[in-house]
Each structure stands twice: as structure tokens, then as C-alpha cells.
Symmetry: C2
Subunit: 128 residues, 2 copies
């Protein structure tokens, strides 16, 4: 769906939604919350504030339905999805994407990716 | 922030986030949850499924910080914000925006709007 010419200006320059959905232990899809998404989102929100990045908002969200790849975040209006494992990943997204307007290629999800194994080589596993 | 040429195709054609944040009774800003946002979001999700609208997702989200205008929803990647009061409002957004690709002008929020009074004439109050 494309923007109409008369649409109002964006309310946020960048609007980040971090999945913080939790599923019970042992669920076959896993869940972002069980992989530490809330801690990552809280860190991102706090760091964005400390860095005084203007025009951005870092929200939690319900299940984004890419659980197998989680913790996942999506940045709108660009619609760029990231698999985020560590605070260092968050720092890189803040600097490279939200401040510099670029992309963190190694953490980006492609539409066709549905399995954790497809991104494991790029993304690595959480350190903390 | 604009899309880069090499960005992946969107994962969802339209991604709706409905604020379902709750604040205690009597909070000066009010909250979307206290004005029935969860019921509206659940209805929207169920109706989108019944209508078999493809490529859309209807998520709940934490505080979108436009509490005074709530219940609010935002549709990305367009970044169109709506004040939603009734199931009929939801039906209209589903049909006019998500199916037909248009805009429900009477429910749209503009970036400069911050007070409930500014939209009251257009939006009306919830019937249920």
C-alpha cells in the first residue's frame, strides 16, 4: 500500500516495534519474550533517550508472527525487520539505522526467511 | 527516513498497531485501554480474518504517546493514524483503507493534533 499525496506528515521519523510476546515453555515456535526481547527493547528505549535521538519511538508489540527468528523488531515506515540478540546489536541499529539512516545488513530479515537456521550464520546467538 | 533502493519487499502489506496501554483510573492523560482499545483491536483482528484480507496484521502495542486522542491505531508503512471509537469505525477502516487502499478522513489524526477536543467534532464518541 503506498502513501497518498495528501497524507499528513509522519508523526514519528522512525517507529520501532519490538515483539515482546511470550509463549509457554516448550512451545514449538518459541517466543521473543522467552529469548529476552523485553530486556532488549527496554535497553533500546533507554539508549535512544540517552542518545537524544529525536523523532523516534521504541514500542513493544504483540506477536509479530516471525517467532522462529526472534527476538525480532521492525522499523517503520521503512518496514525493515531485524533479528536482535544482544545489546551490541541494539547499539548498532541505533547508530547505523536510527541515527545515520543506514541499514544493519547482518541483522536484517528478508521476507522469505522463516527459520532460525537461515539467519544463524549471520546473526549469531545472544551473549548475555 | 526514506526507504533504500535495496530494501527487502515489505513483509506485510499493511501493519496495524493498536495502542492497548492501560493507565490507572484518574490519570490525567487517560489511556487507550480505559477507552476500550483492546475490544476494538480484537474485533478488528477477527473481522480482518473473516474478510480474508491478505497481507495485513493487526497487532496490539504499548503506549503510542497520543493518549489524549485514544483509542488510537497507526497503519504502516503509510503511517496513517486513526482515532477509533466504535466497531463501525473499525469496519470503515477495514473496508476503505485496508481493502480499497483509501483513507478514512474523518477518523485520521494530524501530527499537530494533541487534544481530544480538536478531533471531537469529527470523531464522535463510542456508542458501545
Amino acid at each position: 500500500m503506498t502513501a497518498a499525496a495528501a497524507d499528513p506528515a509522519p508523526y514519528y521519523r522512525a517507529h520501532v516495534f519490538a515483539c515482546t510476546n511470550a509463549r509457554p515453555e516448550g512451545h514449538p515456535r518459541g517466543s521473543c519474550a522467552r529469548r529476552g526481547s523485553e530486556k532488549l527493547r527496554n535497553y533500546m528505549k533507554a539508549r535512544a533517550k540517552e542518545l537524544k535521538i529525536e523523532g523516534v519511538r521504541i514500542n513493544n508489540a504483540g506477536c509479530l508472527d516471525r517467532c522462529e527468528l526472534g527476538p525480532v523488531m521492525v522499523v517503520y515506515p521503512e518496514g525493515i525487520w531485524y533479528a536482535v540478540r544482544t545489546f551490541a546489536d541494539v547499539d548498532e541499529i541505533l547508530q547505523t539505522h536510527l541515527i545515520d539512516g543506514g541499514r544493519v545488513e547482518r541483522l536484517m530479515l528478508r521476507p522469505e526467511e522463516t527459520e532460525r537456521e537461515q539467519i544463524a550464520g549471520r546473526v549469531g546467538e545472544a551473549a548475555e
